[in-house]
Subunit: 337 residues, 2 copies
């Protein structure tokens, strides 16, 4: 398998990207290629022993975070994002990973790889931590702010396949994020989506779920429009970091507490890791004809390593092909009704 | 001032309601009246010394949590919710507080008190904790799942007045919850609402705010549709309780940690209080012609006490009258454009 990593994307590129690639290369027997400014990337590679195990493909352009995505993808043909996606399209690579401009990764995936036929709206499916055990998937987490009911069915179907094949959650429980558990609850969008989800024979739909229960693991795939997904994910992040900051502040505010905190150091460190989104391996773009993973802009080496390792089963298990097949089934069913 | 408390609403009625009323009565020089089943309420009052300071008005009916709100309000004329709201309407009371059926409190407020002229959609404005300092307001927190842009302007205007007069936040900073800070971001609803909020001369509008920053206090009044508000608030609750459970579990999992936790006991208790929503005094129904506060269904005595104490400045500062005036100003401005 050949994995292309964008060497120029994110706040910590190329240094942390290169480090993460080296860490992943030490663990996984796959070819890792960094696409980006060759001089800059090689300079980082040279700082590490084993830097020779990673090859570099030169890209003379970089899409910055503040660029308009569609225009950037259309005009910067030699950017790391466009080049990386083209390699996936041409089957020269199995997976593309980037911490760069989210809009450009999304737009590029749609223009270059194309949507899977029958998928109206590809989704960004974020993995988020369930504190008691592992992780769950949120689809859509922000790509599509205005949605139709059918889009939510697509998110659920694609998310279920990813959760089963990559997160290793068998027969994943699909929940629709809503204001109450009764089928009659919520805005027009959620009411109509509920009916579609309930009728789908391929989904393990457990009904509406309240946002309070989702961080505690009440479902494996939480389905919502991208606006709601963004609010949910960012509230989790904001609340998690606010709480941990309060804990830390509280536990070091006097000598007596500091002594207690000292005894708990290992535990507190473990806890911090639980809330550390870097552990959760980036977000796949589902619904396009290729395996693409978007990482958080602030990804460090560990996040890059995790995204690469999580990306392997995503590409290896033919998730994209399975989504294509499931859409065909969905459409056959709709015709027969 | 005369405060009416619903003795029958919520999971812990009437026991905790009565206790909370007594605690508030000991602190505030106002008349507190409990409306509900007289025998049941008196039985609870008799358990406490000073029970005589609270008067009781009998209501022969109770609206249960699973009843359809509109029908319940229309048919149960002698219920505690309908009686309490009628007393506010007839100026026999200044404030009504209930932990009962949210839909019935909302529907009853609209039918019995009526909407403030010019307000299309009254809102439930929840107060939520900012860990570093005090609290902020979320409007709407769940009453209106499908909204128009003008509704969000109403929520902002009403929320600002409440935040200033009750939460004592001068010139409150109003933020629109959105997926990014740029004016052009988000769904159609948020884009249109942004324009209205920006044009309003009476608001201290600081622009879009991301859900990540809201729990950390980036604004004093967070504006959104009720679906988004519900997701935001419940994610905060769910994440807060998940984190605290993890902290507790982590800190008591072995003898060494237990010793550390023992040293930190006071701090941990203080922290728990920070996340305890009971501290934050219920949610006013804004946009109806009277002061009404909805408490969480699981409110205990302390939550009841807080809701009563927070309700006093709400009724005393003529917030309802100020909202009426501000709507007139808003409409005069619209006509002059």
């Amino acid at each position: 398998m050949r994995i292309i990593v964008d060497g120029m994307g994110g706040d910590n590129a190329p240094g942390e990207i290169v480090k993460g690639c080296l860490q992943a290369a030490a663990l996984a027997p796959h070819e890792i290629v960094i696409v980006g400014d060759e001089t800059a990337v090689r300079k980082e590679l040279d700082k590490h022993s084993g830097g020779g195990s990673i090859s570099v493909i030169h890209a003379s352009q970089t899409i910055e975070n503040d660029e308009a995505p569609v225009k950037a993808v259309r005009t910067k043909k030699d950017s790391s994002i466009v080049k990386g996606l083209n390699m996936v399209k041409e089957k020269e690579a199995d997976l593309f990973i980037s911490a760069g401009n989210s809009g450009a990764i999304m737009a590029g995936s749609m223009f270059i790889l194309g949507r899977i036929p029958g998928i109206d709206r590809p989704a960004i499916a974020a993995t988020f931590p369930i504190l008691s055990r592992g992780a769950a998937l949120l689809a859509d987490s922000g790509a599509n702010t205005d949605c139709k009911p059918r889009n939510l069915l697509e998110f659920a179907t694609m998310g279920s396949i990813y959760a089963e094949k990559v997160l290793e959650l068998p027969s994943p429980r699909v929940g629709l994020i809503n204001v109450g558990v009764e089928a009659s609850k919520g805005p027009a969008l959620q009411k109509a989506a509920y009916e579609l989800l309930e009728l789908s024979p391929s989904l393990n739909f457990i009904g509406n779920v309240e946002a309070r229960e989702v961080p505690q693991g009440c479902c494996d795939v939480a389905v919502c429009d991208g606006f709601t997904g963004n609010v949910f994910l960012k509230t989790m992040e904001g609340m998690g970091s606010a709480v941990m900051r309060t804990v830390k502040h509280s536990l070091t505010s006097d000598a007596f507490s500091k002594m207690g905190a000292f005894l708990l150091m290992g535990k507190l460190r473990k806890m911090k890791a639980l809330f550390d989104y870097a552990e959760y391996g980036g977000a796949p773009i589902l619904g396009v004809r290729g395996a693409v993973v978007k990482m958080h802009g602030s990804s460090d080496a560990r996040a890059v390593k995790c995204a690469i390792l999580k990306g392997i089963p995503y590409a290896e298990n033919k998730v994209v092909q399975m989504i294509e097949d499931s859409v065909l089934e969905m459409e056959a069913l709709e015709r027969s009704e």
